[in-house]
């Protein structure tokens, strides 16, 4: 199994450490076609990282199959040769889940991008893993239906990646995350074995929920090559509020007040001042006031009648907690602009610093005000700028640590600050990742939330699906601790 990489240390010159032997390349080409096996070092550079750019490893090769059968045959050959397989969707993941390994070949799903069936009667869709999240909703909209989970990267991320990461998104507050919507999977397991897990509406009352187990397995069990998902009816109406606050603490208390009032918003998002300023200086400017300490985006959807009353109640909660103003997005264009800005916030951070570590953790919602203050203190103590934009209704934080990777001291301070934030979130009853996955980034933080017995159980489940450890090795699971050793530190220390 591959050794854990360190940031930027492997293959970043663009040369694979161990090229795939020509004989194997020829066999792979015979399955997927010559143009769909990439071995040229320049083209391999595209695949050297995912959205977590602190880690870069050039894969030995990239294979782009076009069907379940091709995936199965490719995996069969690679595993027979002892070559590791790293599945990849669009590469938008933020935890290094699609990072190549030194001995690995990336199997990309980009060509498997067809929606195979939309079944409006049963509100189901069957599709290939390379379908872009937002494209599914576009395709089902004429039927009055949509796909609920909406990660911020939904305009580029794929359903296969969403399944691997059990992705969330702003509207998961009301509607739940990916696992709630996946009703069946065709998966390619170790050695190229093709297995059908549930489907046609999902398993009922008879067996263990293997679909639920596979969702969120981060490419460590196998590759999902067909996905069946449940669709929801489009909401009749929507109301979007923008609460303007002087401080993050006030905004955090407003979140708790709204949720405790019995309302069920579709989404509640917080955007802090640093993020607002970056956004408003970017092409995504949407009218967030740059002098605000924080902004709260609150959305309600459902039956048109009654939405105004819900919005009124939420507005009162905001004002009671110190909002200086609550705006309503009365025009669809304004609402769309608010959401585009929110979802493109990570991109806009480039205006503040050249590099960004998007952290992801969840805390009990009532702990938000306290945790936000302490995160700011952690940033100050390490002299690291931290911008916050996150799913406040779920307590799902995304502190963004801004830095310059050329500055070694700053990189190290980012790592220490990041670890302290993780410890803080666990200390108040939270967890180390809410929706981005463990990947390589959080792997060494796993002992913060799982003891060795629990980690061993996770390793056993991995071995059940992947006995030789050839699917996405080095991800999710930390190495077995040596007796008496300290839990491993984060990615640098």
């Amino acid at each position: 199994m591959s050794q854990p990489p360190t940031p930027g240390s492997l293959g970043s010159a663009g040369l694979p450490v161990l090229p795939v032997p020509p004989k194997i390349v020829k066999r792979l080409s015979g399955i997927v076609g010559e143009t769909h096996v990439i071995t040229d070092p320049d083209r391999l550079l595209v695949y050297e990282s995912d959205g977590l750019t602190a880690y870069r490893v050039t894969p030995r090769a990239v294979v782009l199959p076009g069907s379940t059968d091709e995936v199965a045959r490719v995996v069969e050959i690679l595993h027979a040769e002892g070559i590791e397989v790293v599945p990849r969707g669009a590469g938008t993941g933020l935890s290094g889940g699609a990072l190549a390994t030194e001995n690995g070949v990336v199997v990309g799903m980009a060509r498997m991008n067809r929606i195979l069936e939309i079944d409006p009667e049963n509100r189901l869709a069957r599709l290939q893993p390379g379908v872009v999240n937002a494209h599914l909703t576009e395709a089902t909209r004429p039927h009055g239906l949509y796909y609920a989970p909406d990660p911020s990267s939904q305009s580029t991320c794929t359903l296969g990646g969403n399944v691997a990461e059990n992705s969330g998104g702003p509207h998961c507050l009301k509607y739940g995350v990916t696992s709630r919507y996946v009703t069946g999977l065709t998966v390619v397991l170790a050695g190229g074995r093709v297995v059908q897990l549930a489907g046609a509406g999902g398993a009922r009352h008879a067996s263990l929920d293997l679909v639920g187990l596979f969702v969120g397995s981060e490419g460590c069990f196998g590759i999902a090559t067909e996905i069946e998902v449940r669709l929801l009816p489009l909401a009749e109406g929507v109301r979007t509020l923008l609460g303007i606050f002087e401080t993050m603490e006030d905004a955090g208390r407003a979140v708790t007040a709204i949720m405790a009032s019995g309302l069920m918003p579709a989404a509640i998002e917080i955007v802090d001042q640093a993020t607002i300023r970056a956004l408003e200086a970017s092409v995504f400017a949407a009218g967030y006031p740059v002098d605000a300490g924080a902004a709260l985006v609150v959305e309600f959807d459902g039956t048109e009648v009654g939405l105004d009353a819900d919005a009124d109640r939420a507005e009162k909660c905001c004002l009671a907690e110190g909002a200086r103003e609550v705006q309503r997005a009365t025009e669809p264009e304004h609402r769309a602009a608010l959401w585009t800005a929110r979802k493109k916030a990570f991109g806009a951070m480039g205006r503040i610093a050249p590099d960004l570590l998007v952290q992801d953790a969840t805390v009990p919602r009532t702990k938000l005000p306290e945790v936000l203050v302490r995160i700011a203190q952690i940033g100050e103590s390490y002299d690291i700028k931290i911008a916050n934009v996150f799913h406040a209704g779920d307590g799902n934080l995304h502190p963004n640590l801004l830095f310059d990777r050329q500055n070694a001291s700053e990189l190290e301070r980012v790592e220490h600050a990041s670890k302290e934030i993780m410890k803080l979130c666990v200390e108040v009853g939270g967890t180390i990742t809410g929706e981005h996955g463990v990947g390589i980034d959080k792997r060494d933080y796993m002992p913060l939330v799982h003891n060795e017995t629990e980690l061993e159980m996770l390793r056993s489940v991995k071995e059940l699906f992947d006995p030789d450890g050839l699917f996405n090795p080095g991800k999710v699971l930390p190495s077995r601790a040596a007796p008496g050793s300290e839990p491993p530190a984060g990615m640098i220390s």
Binding site: G216, T431, V449
Partner: protein, 408 residues
């Protein structure tokens, strides 16, 4: 303590755990009487019992109230492990809308506690008022409220469990989004105690809706209500539940709407226009009584099974069920949104009827899962078999959690 094959159970648990009254379980008819009933009072005592069972080659059947283990058959000596003494709320922070309670805590008790804060658990499985929290998680049966709120497995945030070999684990946590490691909660929910003994559960709660209205349409037979039911299920709104019910010869269609008063009014008008019908609307105690009667219909029947297919094939599914049970006084409660029908009946000749039903349902691409039948038949043999792959992987998961096969 070193456990030998002759170590009596009384050596590893407190005397209270072996008191007959503490078992809290109904007598079980699994083909042989259990050797003992034990009710541990703590996670540690659960560990002790399971380690004892492994050392003595005994089997253990975990139960909440014991009312839903009719699919099991005991072919070797076994002990019933009840969670009846493990009760109480561990953490409840209403503003977080999450709750952690011990597995033996009754759903009715939890409903009372959360109701004080106008919160609730939106699950309505048969016998809901009699179930325990651990039993809810172990069976994973949500009830028709699935349509509006999602399945139990989507709302279990965390668990503590003791595996068959005595390892105690925490799965998940107490926050609403958590992907720190593979999702072992999913196979655990609905595993019916075959993987581990559930000792505590953390759930997401929901605000109690301002208004809970039940729309009712009655008819002489079930199948004639199907077109209306399907029209409602494919309308633009998302009701809390959509149920077709046949009980004591009367057929009815129930749609449950949740929300603010004006929202529920608007949804009712829209559904009536869409389906071309006029519903009778019930609220308050009248609605509660109707919902409870439908929810619990057939709870004591000798045969209890679930037949499922795609929702669009609901009419054909009901035809298959009624065709197989012609002349039999049966209860059918169908979840229209899910395409799943609960069927309950008593009387002789059930095996042939169930097999005929299986053949009909499977011809539609559906499945039948028998949850209870008289002791002279095997529920597994009467149910649609799992695919070989699902069976093999499922057995692999079982071996990981329960390597010695202690859990029945």
């Amino acid at each position: 303590m070193t456990l030998g094959s002759a170590t009596p159970l009384s050596d590893v648990v407190s005397p209270e755990a072996l008191e007959p009254a503490s078992g809290g379980s109904a007598r079980l008819a699994l083909g042989r009487e259990p050797d003992a009933y034990v009710s541990p009072g703590s996670v540690q005592e659960v560990v002790e019992v399971l380690e004892w069972a492994r050392a003595t080659s005994s089997a253990v059947l975990p139960v909440g109230t014991g009312a839903h283990v009719g699919d099991r058959r005991a072919e070797r000596p076994y002990v019933v492990l009840s969670t009846a003494r493990m009760t109480g709320i561990e953490i409840y922070e209403p503003a977080d809308l999450t709750l952690t309670a011990k597995a033996g805590t009754g759903l009715a008790e939890l409903g009372g506690m959360t109701g004080e804060h106008r919160q609730w658990l939106p699950f309505d499985p048969m016998d809901a008022a009699k179930r325990t929290l651990g039993g809810l998680a172990a069976t994973g049966v949500t009830g028709p409220l699935w349509a509006g709120y999602g399945h139990v497995r989507n709302h279990v945030l965390g668990m503590t469990v003791v595996c068959g070999d005595g390892r105690a684990l925490r799965l998940g946590g107490r926050v609403v989004k958590n992907v720190a490691g593979f999702d072992l909660i999913k196979p655990m929910v609905g595993s019916r105690g075959r993987l581990a003994v559930i000792t505590a559960v953390t759930l997401r709660l929901f605000p109690v809706p301002t208004l809970d209205r039940v729309l009712v349409l009655e008819a002489a037979d079930l199948v004639s209500l199907v077109p209306t039911a399907r029209a409602v299920a494919t309308a633009r709104t998302l009701p809390a539940s959509i149920v077709l019910s046949l009980s004591t010869g009367a057929a009815s269609f129930l749609v449950r709407l949740h929300g603010a008063d004006e929202t529920v009014d608007a949804d009712q008008r829209m559904l009536e226009a869409h389906a071309g019908v006029s519903f009778a609307a019930k609220e308050g105690t009248e609605a509660e009584a109707l919902l409870a009667a439908t929810r619990d219909a057939g709870a004591d029947a000798e045969v209890l099974l679930y037949a499922s297919t795609l929702p669009s094939q609901l009419g054909a599914l009901l035809d298959s069920i009624q065709g197989a049970l012609r002349g039999v006084d049966c209860v059918v409660v169908a979840d229209v949104a899910e395409g799943c029908a609960r069927v309950a009946f008593s009387g002789a000749g059930y095996s042939d009827a169930v097999l005929e039903m299986c053949a009909g349902v499977e011809a539609l691409g559906g499945t039948v899962a028998v949850h209870r039948c008289p002791i002279d038949a095997s529920p597994a043999a009467l149910s649609t078999p799992l695919s070989p792959d699902a069976h093999e992987i499922g057995e692999g998961v079982k071996r990981i959690f329960d390597p010695s096969g202690v859990l029945l």
